[in-house]
Symmetry: C2
Subunit: 400 residues, 2 copies
């Protein structure tokens, strides 16, 4: 195990520098391919290369491929007892990630429609589900202690468990993608989630299920390395944008380790800000409340600070459901609105705008840092739920 990990760490070091180097040398190609965007939160609107997540993704795949012979080195020499089931898991994981890399890049280049974005991740996770079925097929959920009186010790939800896992991939990819828009946020949150998973794996490494957590580490480590390679250039003031590609690869990577490592619920615990942002965004995503094309904060060039972006809507266009959602959110202090001459002006429903409402006008870098502190805080909460609190609800330690 230690030799393999050392080799992987060496490959990862090469991955950090390789990603950074390739990213710098490919920037002219990206710009000449019209893969560039303007940073709307900056005084100067110079074109910035986009979709650089495809570079970190490719380096990630290359490291993973090069690591396969090392990972299975001992077993390869003893081909008769080769652990085909482990190789199947790894290949299915890499296949799903590779598909998402392709889809993300296609999305950055072509601006795909929503139906493609929902259909393809579901199909991409199909090999993963087949492998899960073949290798584990455990669709039983351990019931929390307080509910056991009614539901029993465990509930087998069968097919629904596969639907849940298929949805997990779709959710993780899109959840990161909609909590984005300011420099360094996509990479920052992904790094925090990734490191949280890594810490969780290390803690669990000396418990019962070593193999599973080792497997997860072998995927998460190269992911973190290649992401770190992009970090510096994407941090404020960003020289590159990571694009949908990066969000898709990140989400699928987390979903994959969660599914094959049997800790998908723990992974979801690390997604608390993303889940909140997703639920908060739902009224706009489903167009119950009008949704402008961009919901990112508004830049005030005189103060060099960001303020919450708003949308305007005549009251009669809102409908009963829309109005009641706004009133509920208002009573929860989750929306700021202004009602004048039958027109409602309210902030866009994203976590970024909500933070801006509470903090007031904020510099972009400070805003990113605030959101990342929230993400770290949520990871701490997640570990608290996972370890001390879980013992109140479950007898066993390996249920998530």
């Amino acid at each position: 195990m230690w030799i393999e990990l050392c080799c992987l760490l060496l490959l990862c070091c090469a991955g950090v520098f390789g990603t950074r180097q390739i990213c710098q040398s490919l920037q002219p190609l990206l710009i000449s391919a019209h893969l560039c965007g303007k940073d709307l939160c900056k005084p100067k609107q110079t074109p910035i290369p986009e979709a650089t997540g495809v570079i970190s993704g490719c380096v990630f795949l290359i490291i993973s491929f090069l690591f396969i012979p090392i990972q299975f080195g001992n077993n390869i020499l003893n081909a008769e007892n080769f652990p085909h089931n482990e190789l199947v898991e790894l290949l299915a994981a890499l296949l799903s990630i590779c598909c998402m890399l392709l889809l993300g890049f296609a999305d950055d280049v072509l601006n795909l429609r929503w139906r493609h974005k929902l259909l393809l991740p579901s199909v991409a996770s199909l090999p993963l589900l087949v492998v899960y079925y073949v290798n584990f097929n455990s669709t039983t959920i351990i019931v929390p202690l307080p509910l056991r009186e009614w539901l029993g010790h465990a509930v087998n939800i069968g097919f629904l468990y596969y639907v849940y896992m298929g949805m997990l991939g779709v959710f993780c990819t899109n959840a990161i993608n909609i909590l984005a828009g300011i420099n360094g946020l996509e990479i920052g949150q992904s790094l925090i989630i990734g490191f949280s998973i890594l810490i969780f794996n290390i803690v669990e490494l000396y418990r019962e299920t070593q193999q599973t957590h080792l497997f997860s580490m072998y995927i998460i480590l190269p992911y973190l390395a290649t992401t770190l390679g992009l970090f510096q250039q994407n941090w404020y003031p960003a020289e590159i944008f990571v694009g949908d590609t990066f969000c898709y690869v990140s989400g699928m990577t987390f979903a994959v380790v969660g599914i094959l490592g049997h800790f998908s619920k723990t992974v979801l615990l690390f997604f608390i800000p993303q889940i909140f942002n997703f639920l908060y965004s739902l009224p706009q995503l489903f167009h119950i409340v009008p949704c402008p094309r961009h919901r990112m904060p508004k830049y005030n060039s005189s103060s060099d600070k960001l303020i919450a972006s708003t949308c305007k809507v005549p009251k009669e266009e809102l409908g009963k459901l829309g109005l009641s959602i706004i009133y509920v959110l208002k009573s929860l202090k989750l929306v700021e609105y202004d009602y004048r001459e039958d027109v409602i002006t309210m902030n866009n429903f994203t976590l970024i705008n909500l933070v801006l409402i509470y903090r007031g006008p904020t510099h972009e870098k400070t805003l990113t840092l605030t959101l990342l502190y929230i993400q770290i805080l949520c990871s701490v909460i997640a570990f608290t739920i996972r370890y001390p609190l879980a013992s109140y609800f479950y007898n066993t330690s390996s249920v998530m």
Copy 2:
């Protein structure tokens, strides 16, 4: 077997129409993403969507993913004896193809450099080689009868066999890519090679190695279906270009079935025109003889016909090696050149130009048809070598 094949054929039918439909609906997206080119062999230079191979490739992957549960249906119900080794092969195959799809699309969008085009296919075939090592690790070559006196019955070339297989992926992808440039040629040759492999699989299906050839069919059938979906729109006069993406996916698909089906030498027999074109192109690819950016034929708008394109070079710039290559080719009647005022004007070294030299000015559609007839003729020759002739060189029928 028959039920699985029927299901696959149904999926393939959906694939043909799905590819055609998606291709039509995505054309505006491709053009607005600047993924379009001009057809230099036409009087009017309207922009034509490029890289549509990414669509057929994605549909191919979707069909393959959907087919996994069907293919392993019987075994899934009996999870204890699940053939992990077969699933490993399939996933490695799809992973390599997916990587090439990504690389091809990246190449179409970014115009990658040559070193990337050679490096990445080698890495992409690594999982395939690991699986080959684990599942077969047969690196022994049966020696043809006339050579057995010196080399013995079989030679184990060990590591070199893996180098050969790694190179096969690189070769197949690039060989199709450089025999291209006129409407319908990339798709046409790929269809003929694909159908040749399919016929070979059907013939071999009732011999010893049924499983291997069934595996190959499960990959080739969806490939052919999705390629057929693009064919009509790419045929003269082309409404779409398939791009590097298509050539890369095609090449890798053929390499994959050749490697995992143990008939890589037979696959190479179907590549006779591509091998000839590759060898013929070598002096220009290695810049021993000057190589212009485009080597495709020249369009004569007054006659609406194509003639061989040429390159000019002062004699002293050629060097001894260049000059001797030209003299050898001249004596083999493989080059047409003109020597005037110390400047040599010769045709570009591609099969397309060579056909034009022999045929004289030719209409584009007739030229494509001629090249496809050559491809079909070569497939017939390949079968002749594989079946009647091979028995003179080998005792056994399952050596290629």
